[in-house]
Amino acid sequence: MIEAIQNALDTAMGEDERVVVFGEDVGYFGGVFRCTAGLQKKYGRTRCFDTPISELGIVGAAIGMAVYGLRPCVEIQFADYMYPAYDQIVSEAARIRYRSAGEFTCPIVIRMPTGGGIYGGQTHSQSPEALFTHVCGLKTVVPSTPADARGLLLAAIADPDPVIFLEPKRLYNGPFDGHHERAVTSWKKHELGEVPDDHHVVALGQAAIRRQGGELTVLAYGTMVHVALAAAEETGIDAEIIDLRTLIPLDTATIHASVAKTGRCVVVHEATLTSGFGAELAALVQQNCFYQLEAPVRRITGWDTPYPHAQEWDYFPGPARVGRAFREIMEA
């Protein structure tokens, strides 16, 4: 997935000289996760550069650049480091179009690695997507495959509005279905690992059905798509697994059509439960599919605790926990 992201940035910078890339360690070194490797060498220091350690500064400067007419695509080293920039994101980026009645706009992309599974502890594992989906004016994207990472990132950079691009860091180097006890595999051998060579853009706001099924609808995104696929495989439950890909704008048509067909719905995310994006999904499903539902909508998520270090796999909603919930909802 790292190569796919790097490739998308390379493509975007090659096609549009307004695209600039910056953040902590992203210049000469190419980013701590290597997503910007080679870009400074190829496009020069004024289009790809290192910044001071100031997330507020990175996002605030990006906003000014977007107002000028550039297309900044910035990196926050970990989503957990985003909070100093939150005011700039919420009060500024998200509202500049609105408050100026369209006179000024803010087409920026803020990339940030999200989620756990790498023994990152509570400051390198968080999934703050709900802090963005709650903010009108932002779009929030979470890819689950290299092809989507590339295609969605190209769409995000071309988008006229600010986009939060959350990259599940446990998927950077290969697919991960939650079986942490198994050997790490590379994307190269995975059926979803292929990245088209062409300028393949994945439009924002379109979910993907990763597994067709008739018994149960599973709503997931990012790493949890792979966990849900494993849980379906292991339980033998004929689940329809929907990869939301974009949380805002949300593909409600695909969700409602699936739940109307299956009558059951589970939401899976790694972020904490209370006021998480799952609450929004559950509310939408019950409101729109109430008479088709045969069981209450169920949420499987991280616990409402900070993300622990040593207890990572007790926190992470892995295939065993997700599979158990699948069975329970089928019996409900």
Binding site: L56, G60, G64, E92, K139
Partner: protein, 410 residues
């Protein structure tokens, strides 16, 4: 150990509170014309003294003196006076309109008119200000129609920002005036980003960041200085020190730093302190800093020493926290009267002419006000449709907002 004094917390207090008699005699104000004017490419390290003094041009007799004088013609000075008087008359009318219930809120510039009016004169078309809520002089001095400003105050049908923003939060790309946030300090780092973009694009345009003394305590201020300094961004960073952040005196934000300008020294940028009530001094320093930015010599930090003669906003009553006499005792005088005195000293103006001019300007403003009120005020006349409230959240109206707009009945 027992004999050591226990710790105690230092909480700064202003020198005077209501009931006290303000006395500024202890404050050192350099004589006009005595502060040197460095070459714009001088090493910032060689001009650190300028952060601790006050650059002044107009002396007590109304004469323009010293190395910062001599940049403006009679016509330019007369138009500068007109801008400040227009702003003052506009403020008076809008303040009254708020008291009459025609709008919800207003913020005036009383005492600070010279800063935004004179600064704008140093800019070129295409340059971009990232202002706070007390720089409407930038709009007036750039010829922005006062009618539009008033329509914004009244949130009426002709309001350029469609009734979405609190009064005074103007926006004009054409006039180089970035949409005012209402959140403090956020625009400072954005100005630096805009300037960086101009440099990345090999453009010739420069950016200007504006902030108040109180808001320099926000993180955005420090981020702006770090980025501006690191990338030598073509930006002028202005601090308007009007002594008061609502009810909090400037010492709370300034802390142990001698002056606000001195904050720039650690970042290696030129830091100048200027008499904010002196139209000529403000303009001369603005031009110096703008020229530096345009010649790719990097950012400049400027502190304008001034006094907020009115309340913070229409929701504020300064009598509750500072002596009423403080404004009159303020040693740097009134910017309008000082420029008037200068024009008289130049022999191109008179008391009588000034009086006529004042009446004429007020008539002009009232005429525009009538026109704006004919469109509507906050609670009367024509307003943007509630349907419009759903526009511009995104470039395209997404399905969930289409549904919500239907639910709202539009």
């Amino acid at each position: 150990m027992d004999e050591e004094t226990p710790l105690s917390l230092h909480v700064p207090e202003p020198e005077w509170r209501p009931g006290d008699i303000p006395d500024y005699s202890g404050i050192v104000i350099p004589k006009a014309g005595t502060v040197r004017r460095p070459e714009i490419d001088e090493d910032p390290r060689a001009m650190r003294d300028l952060a601790f003094t006050i650059i002044r041009v107009l002396n007590r007799k109304g004469e323009a003196v010293g190395p910062w004088a001599g940049l403006l013609s009679d016509e330019e000075l007369a138009s500068g006076l007109r801008h400040m008087m227009l702003l003052r008359a506009y403020d008076a009318r809008m303040l009254l309109a708020q008291r009459q219930g025609k709008t919800s809120f207003y913020m005036q510039h009383l005492g600070e008119e010279a800063i935004s009016c004179a600064f704008q004169r140093a800019l070129k078309p295409g340059d971009m200000n990232f202002p706070t809520y007390r720089q409407a002089g930038l709009l007036i001095a750039s010829g922005y129609p006062m009618f539009k400003m008033m329509c914004q105050i009244y949130s009426n049908e002709e309001d350029p920002v469609r009734g979405r923003q609190l009064p005074v939060m103007y926006s004009s790309r054409e006039h180089g005036f970035f949409s005012i946030s209402g959140n403090l300090a956020t625009q400072y780092i954005q100005a630096v980003g805009w300037a960086m973009a101009s440099a990345i694009s090999h453009d010739r345009r420069i950016a200007v960041g504006w902030i108040g003394d109180g808001s320099t305590a926000e993180n955005d201020f420090h981020a702006a200085l770090v980025f501006a300094s690191t990338y030598k961004a073509p930006v002028v960073l202005n601090i308007v020190n009007n002594q008061w952040a609502i009810s909090t005196f400037q010492g709370i934000a300034r802390g142990g730093s001698g002056t606000f300008a001195a904050r720039g020294l650690g970042f290696g940028m030129p830091a100048l302190r200027v008499d904010g009530n002196d139209y000529l001094a403000v303009h001369a320093v603005a031009r110096w800093a703008a020229e530096r930015a345009r010649r790719n010599l990097g950012p400049t930090l400027i502190e304008y020493v001034t006094y907020r003669a009115g309340g913070h906003s229409t929701s504020d009553d300064p009598a509750a926290y500072r002596p009423k006499e403080e404004s009159d005792a303020w040693p740097l005088g009134d910017p309008v009267l000082r420029l008037k005195a200068h024009l008289i000293a130049r022999g191109v103006w008179s008391e009588e002419r000034h009086k006529q001019f004042e009446a004429q300007i007020m008539d002009e403003v009232i005429a525009v006000q009538k026109k704006a009120e004919a469109i509507g005020t906050l609670h009367t006349g024509a307003h943007p449709s509630p349907r419009d409230m759903f526009e511009d959240v995104y470039a395209e109206l997404p399905p969930h907002l289409v549904r919500q707009r239907q639910e709202a009945g539009y």
